[in-house]
Amino acid sequence: MTTLKQTTLHDAHVAAGARMVDFAGWSMPVHYGSQLEEHHGVRREAGMFDVSHMTVVDVAGSGARDYLRYLLANDVDKLKENGRALYSCMLNEQGGVLDDLITYRREQGYRVVVNAATRDKDLAWMQQVARDMPGAPQVSVQERDDLDMIAVQGPKARELCLPLLPEALRSDVEALSPFRACEWQDWFVARTGYTGEDGFEVVLPKGETRALWDALAAAGVRPTGLGARDTLRLEAGMNLYGTDMDEQVSPLESGLGWTVALAPADRDFMGRAALEKQKAEGVPHRLVGLVLEGRGVLRGHMPVSAGEAGQGETTSGSFSPTLGVAIALARIPAGAGEQVQVEIRGKQVPARVVKPPFVRNGQALVEIH
């Protein structure tokens, strides 16, 4: 048995009664007693997540812009000023999704945050592309394992977090619009998240992490585990890499066509030719939301029948604590209608096709009958 990696906050999680599980080789809290209460805590007030297992990578050098414009399916030239953030997929040559990530433009270059489960693969790929790409731009790709990350999310997240940040950063953070970031020394605060609620993702030096976590807890921000993080992101209609998409599917089949920048036409990027071909031939599947109309709970990888349009499957599913019904993301044939059947333990149960997100800012966005 290999030893699991621990984040700076490991002892704090254990002391708070967390159930720790193996997540991509890290010992991480899945809940601190009740996943449902933690979920509602984020929708109604404020919760915090230790996401220090995620990988922060700084990309710098005179060729950084050219490099990222080739590496990513979205175009970092959309980042018109420092502090702006861009969500993108990183594709292989076949147009399959290697990972999804956020890129921030900074004075010093760019900062990219990638998933923990794909860290080794991503770093190797990023180095390889930097070496092999046309024009061989001058670029450095540096993992920042000296930094941790805490996400503070919920309608009260900003007001509770703000007074606990370094004084020098506060007025900038207070003025942040959604999907923007600001920084001071090694502190980096972005108004982003993975829950469908307002809040911040705070990247900070390891030496400061425990003090901020404890101060947030004292201010009433509830420690929230990966279990609630998963139901929150599912309600928010956000894909989870490795479950809702992987190297076998393109972003066009993953509800992420909006993140693929085909204009300008003269920007070549990894996977571009494959995506153009798929688009010309017709994208065979689409990723949709499902609301279960019968009894039961949807889970990932249940067969979905869309009548004559053919078969598909759920990619992730759960009981939605906010809506009180089972919901899922599902990859179904492009021609499927609004009603499908999901096979739950041998029984066909009706489900309705909806457009994600299911929930945003505490409000249901789909009708529940």
Partner: protein, 130 residues
């Protein structure tokens, strides 16, 4: 430590059984089992009147994260199911041995009860499972 009432019988798969005065048996899942599963959001009870075979899956308890089968601790006919769990599956979390009962069965052969564990043996079983 989870709660293991002394007057009940237990199966290795974490069901509990209570012998009622009318000869029927009430079945639920143990405090340990509900704690492992976490917040329950759905319970599929067996159908009233159906026949169960000892050791066969007969009900499903689902938490936010996972689904788990409930196995019939003895053979027999289902004489009642807990209808309240349809709207309030969380009763299994809050009161595993009381309002969180799942079904009641009329045993076909009471000698099957001897194969179940008493509280001491179940406690040892929990320790062995770590």
């Amino acid at each position: 430590m989870s709660n293991v009432p002394a007057e009940l019988k237990y199966a290795k798969s974490h069901e509990w059984v209570r012998q009622e005065s009318d000869g029927t048996l009430t079945v639920g899942i143990s405090d340990h089992a509900q704690e492992l599963l976490g917040d329950l959001v759905f319970v599929e009870t067996p159908e009233e009147g159906s026949s169960l075979e000892a050791g066969a899956a007969c009900a499903v308890v689902e938490s936010v994260k996972a689904a788990s089968d409930v196995y019939a601790p003895v053979s027999g006919d289902v004489v009642a199911v807990n209808e309240q769990l349809g709207d309030s599956p969380e009763l299994v979390n809050s009161d595993a041995y009381g309002e969180g009962w799942i079904f009641r069965v009329k045993p076909a052969n009471t000698s099957e009860l001897d194969a179940l564990m008493d509280a001491d043996a179940y406690n040892q079983h929990l320790e062995a499972e770590g």
